[in-house]
């Protein structure tokens, strides 16, 4: 993307934007356009050189600065923004329709009014070719957890959670300061400051067994930063250990469900993949459960652990009373 392909749309939008907001502080303009104030000043200086043919004093865009605020005196005929491109309209309308079809997300009626107004202004009716459904499958007990969490988030109260951590197969109680609720790739999460871990953590809702909304206010540290979701919630972590697995056709779903790397097709639906893991016991649980549909090529300690547990389980099962 060239620099001007971002700058020109901003320049074309700035004049009508300022026209609608006389005397607006430059700081606010920069924030709305998501550019540094220095860049904004350069943009305004450039606009000052633009205008109508003739390009005399009365033809150029006129901006007046007072303190740290700016006002448009003459707009040179650029009083309205350029209409939305197809991609811009699609991105907004598809997202709005997704929100309106999801109960509890927002006031569905307000979303539909927004859709209608934007469609009317954009003057585009063709289907976008993209549909997003945000609804997820949720057990009844998770719905109760959600209600309690939302109450805590809304009232900004600390929460006591009973949480299941699959990597350690462990249930712990912890007090967290909630930040927001997320819905990403089919799962709901609470993002919160975990006081025990001294960091921001994501808690998947279907792993929360109990929620208690505390009387004390939510007090995350002021420097806390929300998780950047743009690369997914669980980007590859180089500190994790690596397993190399050969997946039989019946286990290929693993490479869709868990992040894997370096997929090598071995023919007839089999594949070799590299998968990262933190905890050996978790990885052993996954591999053991897959039975004959997976072969561990690396590490040896994982293969050994699977053999040890399978042997022990089969031996123990022989002691079961006959039914």
């Amino acid at each position: 993307m060239s620099a001007s392909s971002e700058r020109v749309p901003r320049l074309l939008a700035l004049v009508p934007y300022l026209l609608a907001r006389p005397g607006i502080p430059l700081r606010e303009v920069a924030a709305d356009f998501e550019v540094p104030e220095k860049q904004l000043r350069k943009d305004l200086e450039l606009l000052w050189m633009c205008g109508l043919p003739g390009y005399g004093p009365g033809d150029l865009i006129d901006l007046s600065f007072e303190g740290d605020t700016v006002t448009v005196g003459f707009d040179a005929g650029m009083s309205r923004p350029l209409r939305l491109t197809a991609a811009e309209a699609t991105s907004l309308l598809v997202a709005l329709r997704a929100l309106s079809d999801t109960p509890g997300m927002l006031d569905a009626e307000a979303v539909q009014r927004a859709v209608a107004k934007i469609e009317a202004a954009v003057g585009q009716a063709q289907p976008a070719g993209v549909t997003v459904g945000l609804a997820i499958r949720e057990a009844p007990e998770t719905a109760k957890v959600r209600d309690a969490l939302q109450d805590g988030v809304r009232r900004e109260r600390a929460l006591r959670l009973r949480y299941y951590t699959p990597s350690r197969d462990e249930i712990t109680d912890r007090v967290v300061d909630p930040l927001r609720m997320l819905l990403v790739e089919g799962y709901s999460y609470l993002e919160a400051w975990c006081r025990a871990a001294d960091g921001v953590r994501l808690f998947r809702l279907d792993r929360i067994d109990e929620v208690e909304v505390l009387d004390e206010p939510s007090a995350p540290p002021p420097h806390v930063r929300l998780t950047d979701t743009s690369e997914g919630l669980f980007p590859p972590d180089p500190s994790q250990r690596i397993a190399v697995l050969v997946l039989e056709p019946d286990a290929r779903w693993v490479s869709e469900y868990y992040p894997v790397e370096d997929v090598v097709e071995l023919g007839r639906g089999r594949a070799r993949v590299m998968m990262r893991y933190t905890d050996l016991s978790w990885m052993a649980r996954l591999t053991l459960g897959l039975g004959g549909d997976v072969h561990v090529e690396h590490p040896a300690e994982l293969a050994d652990e699977v053999v040890r547990q399978a042997t022990e389980a089969l031996r123990r099962a022989e002691h079961l009373p006959a039914t």
């Binding site: 749309p9 923004p81 990403v184 779903w253 039975g291 389980a313 123990r316």
Partner: protein, 330 residues
């Protein structure tokens, strides 16, 4: 000093917006500051072509035509009614919805576009507050490699061909599809369309598309039926699991927490010298129950039903066979 390109482009837009007559390239060259920098005719035309392309890419509706029959070349102008965004006025709750919608995407195709849309709405005088709080913040990614080409084919109405792997995995097969739409459901992306070989509507998971998507034939040939709800169609292809009959398990004391949180303890039993709890559990996903239980190894044993005990045993035997077998070659 030469005129910056951005300044030249803004002046070109202002100039063409202000004229009702079509202006020839030569006239524009004489009027708009910056084009005088071009030292030759060839340099000017190159510059002007590049500028026109850029403006069209930005969505500026450049009109070409001739004002009178005496003109010998096409000229240019911008019709204000085609250029300007229509009037729009959003109530605070509508603006909040728009703000939340604009940050839904974590997507190279849509994140920038949503931001561009927001800037234009703000320029139209709408106040859209970035910091609006939502009960839930949904995020949608479009990271599947096949996404951009399938979306482009849907929007262009062009037939596509791709290699596809069904699950349980088999060899890939080439499918030829008239694409109707890409659909996200429960965090997964699907393509819905008419499968030419099977002569029926089909749904394909994007993560199972292997390699490149190829377009077939010309754009504009796909007839998308207007009355098909793509999201509902995807839903009908996926069955929700049926709950199973009650299951009884032996669980070693203090072990298998992930299973215990879904189970009821109904007694205790000593087994092979190890004390464990007898639990009853309603299995939500019978298909994957044997895998789940086998994963706990010696910590969980199936008492009943017999069919589940048997498939857990098969998995454990399979694990032994697989890990002790020869190395797998490629």
């Amino acid at each position: 000093m030469s005129t910056p390109r951005a300044e030249r482009l803004v002046n070109l837009v202002l100039c063409l917006l202000s004229t009702r007559q079509f202006l020839s390239a030569e006239r524009i060259r004489g009027i708009v500051p910056g084009y005088a920098d071009a030292l030759s005719d060839e340099a000017f035309y190159r510059m002007f072509e590049r500028d026109k392309t850029e403006l069209r890419d930005l969505g500026v509706p450049l009109e070409t035509g001739r004002t009178g029959s005496f003109e010998t070349t096409d000229g240019y102008r911008i019709a204000r009614r085609d250029y300007e965004l229509g009037d729009i006025d959003l109530e605070p709750d509508e603006a909040a919805a728009v703000a939340l919608a604009a940050r839904l995407w974590d997507s190279p195709q849509f994140t920038g576009a949503a931001h561009g849309a927001l800037i234009k709405l703000r320029a139209a005088g709408v106040d859209v507050d970035q910091d609006v709080r939502a009960a839930v913040e949904p995020k949608v990614r479009t990271s599947e490699p096949a996404f951009p080409s399938l979306l482009a084919a849907v929007q262009a109405g062009q037939v596509v061909e791709f290699d596809y792997r069904r699950l349980p995995a088999t060899d890939v097969a080439t499918r030829t599809i008239e694409p109707w739409g890409v659909v996200a459901r429960r965090g997964r992306w699907y393509l819905v369309g008419h499968d030419r070989d099977r002569g029926a509507t089909r749904c394909f998971r994007l993560s199972r598309v292997v390699g490149e998507v190829r377009t077939v034939g010309k754009p504009g040939v796909v007839d998308r039926p207007v009355d098909v709800d793509l999201l509902s169609f995807v839903a009908t292809t996926q069955n929700d699991p049926q709950p199973s009959s009650p299951t009884r398990l032996w669980v070693a004391k203090g072990r298998a927490q992930g299973l215990r949180r879904r189970a009821d303890v109904v007694g205790e039993q000593l087994l092979d010298g190890e004390l464990g709890d007898l639990v009853e559990i309603e299995l939500r996903f019978p298909d994957s129950a044997a895998r789940w239980i086998a994963g706990f190894g010696p910590d969980v044993l199936v008492l009943e039903p017999e069919v589940l005990a048997k498939s857990v045993r098969e998995r454990l035997l399979g694990a032994l066979r697989s890990q002790r077998g020869a190395e797998v070659g490629s």
